[in-house]
Each structure stands twice: as C-alpha cells, then as structure tokens.
C-alpha cells in the first residue's frame, strides 16, 4: 500500500511538472504569435512591427550584434527586433527545415555562397528595386556579388571576405628570400616556395636525399575551393561555370595547366596535399602554426594569425601566365524572407539600410575584425586600415576588389563543389590523371547543374 501511494505521488508530481512546463512555454509563444499577428493586420503607421532576425552565432560577435540591434530599435521605435541564432553549422540545416515549414525568420544572415541557393528556390525576396532606390552603389563594396545573371539583387552584404596572399615574414627571413610582391606570377610563387620548403631532416627540394613525403615546413598551404584551387584556375584563365552559371567549362586547357601547376607543387612537397593536411589539427592551422610560409587566405584568417602571434603580412594574389589576376570573394549577406508580409519586409529593409549606410554601425562591426566593411568610406578609413598592427598591408585586401569575383555561386553550389573536390582530390593524390579528373568533374558537374536548371 505504501509503495502504491508513493507511486501515485510520483506520478502526480511528474504530471504537474509536465503541465507546468508545457504551459509556461506554450503561453509565452502564443502571446508572441498573437502580438505579431496584430501587427500584421493593423494598418496604423504607429503600430509596432516585430521582425525576427536570424543569424549564426559566433562567440564575441553575438554581443556586438545585440548592441547594434538595440541601437536600431532606439532609432526605429516602431520596429521591434527579435532574434534567433544557432551555431554556424546548424544554422543552415535548421533554416532548411524552417523554410519547408514556413517558419523561417523574416530576415536572416546568409553565407555568401548560399544566397543564390535561396534566391533561385524562391525563398528570399528580390531586393533590386529597393537597392536601386536606397543605396548608392558606388559607395559599397560587393553589392554586385549578390547580383544574379539577370541583374537582380538578392541580398545586401553584411561583411566581405576577399582573398589575398599571406606570408610568414620570419620564415622568409630565415631562408633569406625576398618577400612576395605584386608582380609575382604563380610560377614565381612556386620557385620561392621551393626555397621555403624543408623536410624532416632539414633538406630542401633539390638537395640530395630530400624526402617529399616527410615535410616539416611547406612553401604554400593550400586547401578548399576559396583558399585553394579556385583562384588559381581563374587566374590561369580557366574556371568552373560559364557566365550564365549553367554550363560547365571545366574540361579546358587553362584548367589543365593550372591543375598541373598544383599537382607538380604537391608531388614535390612544396604545397600541402590533402594527405599532408590530415596530419594537422585542422587544415586551417597549418599557416598560423608556422608550418607553411605562405597561404591563400580570406580576410578573416587575420584573426587566427594574430591570435597565434605570427610575424606576417599580406599582398595581392599572384598573376596567371597571361597576367590575369583573380581574388575570390564571399559576401555574407542579409536576405529577406520571400513569404514575409510587406510590412515586415519593409521593416527588415530598414535594418539592412541601417546596417549598410550608417558609418557608426559599420565601424562597430569592423572593430571585430571578422570582415572587410561593406561601406567603402569605412573600409578606406583608419578603422579598417589600422585595425591591428598586423597585417601591415591591409590595402592589399581593398586593392583585390579590382579583380575580385564570386565562386561561381549558383543554386547548386554546395553540390558541385563537393563533386569537384572529390575529383580534384584524386588528381592531387595521384589516384587519377589530371585529364581524367577534369573529364569526370566536367561530366558530373554538368549533370548536377542540369538537374536543377533543366526543369
């Protein structure tokens, strides 16, 4: 009997708790919904409108984001901003679910490479009209990176990543070679990189007994699309997709030449190959750890290099054989949910304007040092150019805008990048010839692109 009693007590406690917790939580969200519904239907101008803003969180930047949002609400008392965030990796996974369920935020921060994915699937709003009306295009970096082939704008950059050549001054000094300069071609880079490569028994390429399989210091570290093969392919005159981004142009002589340059560098131990990268904690750690003299890096890599206390600087990326240059760009951007109400979309646009046009906001965000500011006036000011002691030559990032381009981002970008990586990796590891890799990548990527665009 006693046991029976204790059981019913336990059960009732659980029941109460369940009801209590479920009640609490559902109450709060119902009130939220009610208030936002009111806002939707009311026509009065003074009525407050609530927009939900989604962004991927990242340690210290969250606090700054909240500060800026508070500043925005102060300036626009008619707009209330609620936020939602998730770690970078989970944010986009969740977003796909939310879009499918019609629950996506009214405005969100999209990784630059994913803007076209949402745009071409109708998930985000066409902002062309508003961009033309409210933004003086001359004043901004990177608006064109969210422009599709029909000239429509789908997002406004939040911060820009652009590629440059990073080099470790100490390692150059030790080897007694000159620092990279703006006249370099990729061939020049490889020549110097060879002098900076050291194997486990302190031998350099060309020395007798040099072991290219056991390198302790690489000339150049190289990985992924942005900070690896893409800028090389492009400056050799090659690339992945044609101008209308729906046809593969992979199987070309230019691409072959570029890949030969890479594979040769890797087999001589000068450039890290995919197998080398596996021996590091992360492929990003090779340069900050001082195990590579140079890297192709986007602006954000300054963070890790500074944190590691490296003595380094940057310059523009080398030229291809015909003097062509290319710097890869990722413009993380604000996009507006296509299915949100007009009123909310307008409020969301106010946020974008606040973000892009206000110098103060741009400066605050630039101070985090995560990205090149979108507004040219701020990027060209002390705030950006002297944000930290290193790298000294921050102008290199801004100069690179003259020959910058996106990563051929289209609706199926993630899919085709994975495919290309797979084939390129085989060539890098000499599991297939360069010709085979290009041929197969060409076929597979065309298939992926066709599947989406032929419907």
């Amino acid at each position: 009997m006693k046991q029976h009693k204790s059981f019913s007590i336990l059960l009732s406690i659980i029941l109460v708790m369940v009801i209590f917790i479920a009640g609490c939580s559902s109450n709060s969200s119902t009130t939220d919904n009610e208030s936002s519904n009111e806002n939707d239907t009311s026509n009065s101008e003074e009525e407050q409108v609530t927009i939900n803003l989604g962004f991927y969180s990242g340690g210290e930047s969250d606090e700054k984001m909240q500060e800026l949002i508070d500043g925005f609400m102060e300036k626009h008392p008619e707009i209330k901003v609620t936020t939602q965030s998730a770690p970078y990796g989970q944010f986009f996974q969740k977003l796909d679910t939310q879009i499918a369920a019609g629950e996506a935020p009214d405005i969100w921060l999209s990784d630059g490479v994913l803007v076209m994915k949402y745009a071409e699937r109708g998930a985000v709003k066409d902002l062309t009209e508003w961009v033309n009306r409210d933004l003086n295009k001359e004043e901004y970096y990177g608006l064109e990176f969210n422009e599709d082939t029909n000239g429509k704008y789908w997002g406004v950059p939040q911060g820009i990543q652009i590629g440059a050549l990073y080099y470790n001054k100490d390692l150059f000094d030790q080897a007694g070679v000159d620092y990279p300069n703006e006249d370099w071609t990729w061939e020049d880079l490889k020549e110097v990189a060879a002098k900076l490569t050291i194997d486990a028994s302190d031998k350099k390429p060309g020395d007798e007994g040099f072991n290219s399989d056991n390198i302790k210091q690489f000339g150049l570290t190289f990985f992924s699309i942005t900070e690896g093969w893409f800028p090389v392919l492009k400056s050799y005159g090659g690339g992945i997709l044609n101008d209308s981004l729906n046809k593969s142009i992979i199987n070309s002589d230019e691409n072959k030449q570029a890949l030969e340059w890479m594979v040769d560098g890797m087999s001589r131990g000068i450039i890290t190959d995919p197998a080398d990268l596996k021996s590091f904690q992360s492929s990003m750690a090779v340069f900050p750890s001082g195990s590579a003299a140079m890297r192709i890096g986007i602006y954000a890599r300054v963070l890790a290099a500074n944190e590691a206390g490296l003595n380094y600087d940057v310059t523009v990326l080398p030229k291809g054989p015909d003097g062509e240059r290319f710097s890869p760009v990722i413009a993380n951007s604000w996009v507006i949910n296509d299915s949100t109400s007009d009123k909310k979309a307008k409020a969301a646009w106010e946020w974008i304007k606040y973000w892009a046009t206000e110098d103060e906001v741009q400066k605050e965000w630039a101070a985090l040092g995560e990205a090149v500011p979108v507004k040219k006036s701020v990027a060209n000011s002390e705030v950006f150019l002297n944000a930290s002691d290193k790298p000294e030559n921050r102008e290199a990032f801004l100069e690179s805008f003259d020959f910058a381009g996106t990563l051929d981002t289209n609706a199926v970008w993630s899919e085709w990048v994975a495919k290309f990586n797979e084939h390129a990796q085989r060539a890098f590891l000499k599991e297939s010839t360069i010709d085979e890799a290009l041929e197969n990548a060409d076929k597979d990527i065309q298939e992926i692109v066709d599947e989406f665009y032929k419907e």
Binding site: I21, G54, K216
Partner: protein, 277 residues
C-alpha cells in the same frame, strides 16, 4: 611450483595488457585536458607540444564569458532529467505490456514498433517540426523531452526482453495475492529489472546530454540553448576558439562521469537475484 609461476606470468601479462590499453584509452582525455589549457598559438603549434608551457586556467573562465554557460547547463539538466524519467516510465510500461499482457495484434504491433527503428531520423525532422509548430512549442525545451516520454522503440525492446526473462511463477503468485496487472508491474516486476532500467536511463541520459540535431532545430533563442549547442556557438564562422571549445566540452563531460559512476553498480549487478527461492 612451475604451474604457479606460469600462472603468475600469465597474470602479469594480463595486467600489462590491461594497463597499456587503459593508458591508450585515457590518452585522448589527457590530451584534451592539456589542449584546453593552451593558448591558441600553442594549440596550433607544430610539432605539437603535449604539455603546455604555461597552464591557461583562464580558458575555463573565458568559456563562461563567451556564452550563458550556466543557462545552457541548466537547460541541459532539465531536458535530460525529464527525458530519463519519461523514458523509464513509458518504456517500462509498454515493454511490460508487450511481454506480459495479452491483447489483439500484439506481435504485429511489436514488429511495427521495431520497424520504426529503421526510419532514419532525418526523414522525420520536418513532420516533427510541423507538429511542434502546431502545438506552439517551438523555441521551448518541451519538444526535446516530450518525445522521450512517448516510449522510444529501443527502450521498449530492451524492457520487453527484461520482463520476458522473469519466470511466470512471480506473476501467478502476485495474482494470488490480489495484485492487478498494474500492481504486478509496479511492485513486483519493476524492482527486478533494475539493471535494464539503468541501461535505459544511461542511454537516454547520454543521447539527450549530447544531442545536437533536435535542439539546434527547435531552439532559436540563445538563452534556451542546451550545452552542446552552446559549446558549438562558442566558435564563429571564421575563427574556432578551439581551446575554449575543448575546455567547455570537458566541463560538459563531468555530469556524464558522475552519472556513470553512480549507475555503474547497476551495470555490474545482474539477474542473480531474480531466481525462484
């Protein structure tokens, strides 16, 4: 004499093997501990330095500055506690029914339950999301533990096995003493399947404590994050803060260790006490 010496050396070899493998098992944890005490420069250094030059105990304090770590922990505790409780009650009840009660279509239903284990979790994300949206439970912790209170197939299977292994005589004598099926379940059978209950509890605890997918989909506001999501959000898109993440991950292990130490004796004890005396 000779036999004994052989025996001794075999034992010595055994201990040697155990010691070596124990060291191998412990190494990653020790490495993680040292990594959590490094600066970023030391963290990435090549060749890696195993023991940091200067222990950065401040990394642990930094974790608390970077996020609402206490909130995350409290949320994780709530979710995990309710999940374990829910799983124990629901799985044991359903398991008991499948093992001991007679009702139509019992076997077909049981096969169906097992069949649901084959459905990959990703497939049901969107339907679940829609259901919880209808119930106005998005951005609350409820979806995270509510499902566990609805008897998950693995737990049912485990509990059914446990209940089936109890001799029928117990059921009969309980009946003679005037127990209804519920009383038999709660007062006679439940105390006898403690090891299985402990298994269900530990499994549920570990899955819920480490779960990433569901919380990242259902939770949107930072103060409602559970620990794994909170730890992941310490790192940004561009820069990892790896040493802080390791520190945070190590701290999140502590509760698991405590639970495991506490529940270990249930793992070790087995059915020896369930014989007929």
């Amino acid at each position: 004499m000779k036999v004994e010496r052989n025996f001794f050396s075999a034992k010595a070899i055994g201990y040697l093997i155990i010691t070596v493998s124990a060291l191998i098992m412990v190494m990653p944890f020790v490495t993680a501990l040292f990594n959590s005490l490094k600066t970023y420069a030391e963290f990435t250094a090549v060749p890696p330095r195993w023991i940091p030059e200067l222990f950065q105990w401040s990394n642990y304090a930094e974790v608390f500055k970077l996020g609402n770590f206490l909130d995350y922990t409290a949320n994780s505790f709530l979710v995990t506690f309710l999940s374990v409780l829910g799983a124990l009650l629901s799985c044991s009840m359903v398991g008991f029914a499948f093992a001991r009660l007679k009702f139509p279509l019992k076997n077909i239903l049981f096969v169906m339950v097992l069949g649901t284990m084959m459905i990959p979790p990703v497939v049901i994300i969107i339907p679940h999301f829609m259901i919880f949206k209808q119930m106005n439970l998005l951005d609350t912790l409820t979806p995270l533990w509510l499902l566990e209170c609805l008897a998950q197939p693995f737990g049912i299977f485990l509990m059914r096995q446990a209940f089936m292994s109890i001799p029928k005589e117990y059921e009969e004598s309980a009946k003679l003493d005037g127990c209804n099926p519920f009383q038999t379940y709660w007062r006679i059978f439940m105390p006898m399947v403690r090891p299985s209950l402990a298994t269900v509890a530990i499994f549920t605890f570990m899955t819920k404590w480490n779960e990433i997918l569901a919380p990242s989909i259902y939770l949107t506001s930072n103060e409602k994050f559970t620990l794994p999501i909170g730890i992941l959000s310490l790192s940004g898109q561009w820069f990892g803060n790896e040493q802080y993440m390791v520190a945070a991950a190590l701290m999140s292990l502590i509760p698991i260790l405590i639970v495991f130490l506490f529940a270990e004796r249930y793992f070790v004890s087995n059915f020896t006490n369930s014989g007929i005396k």
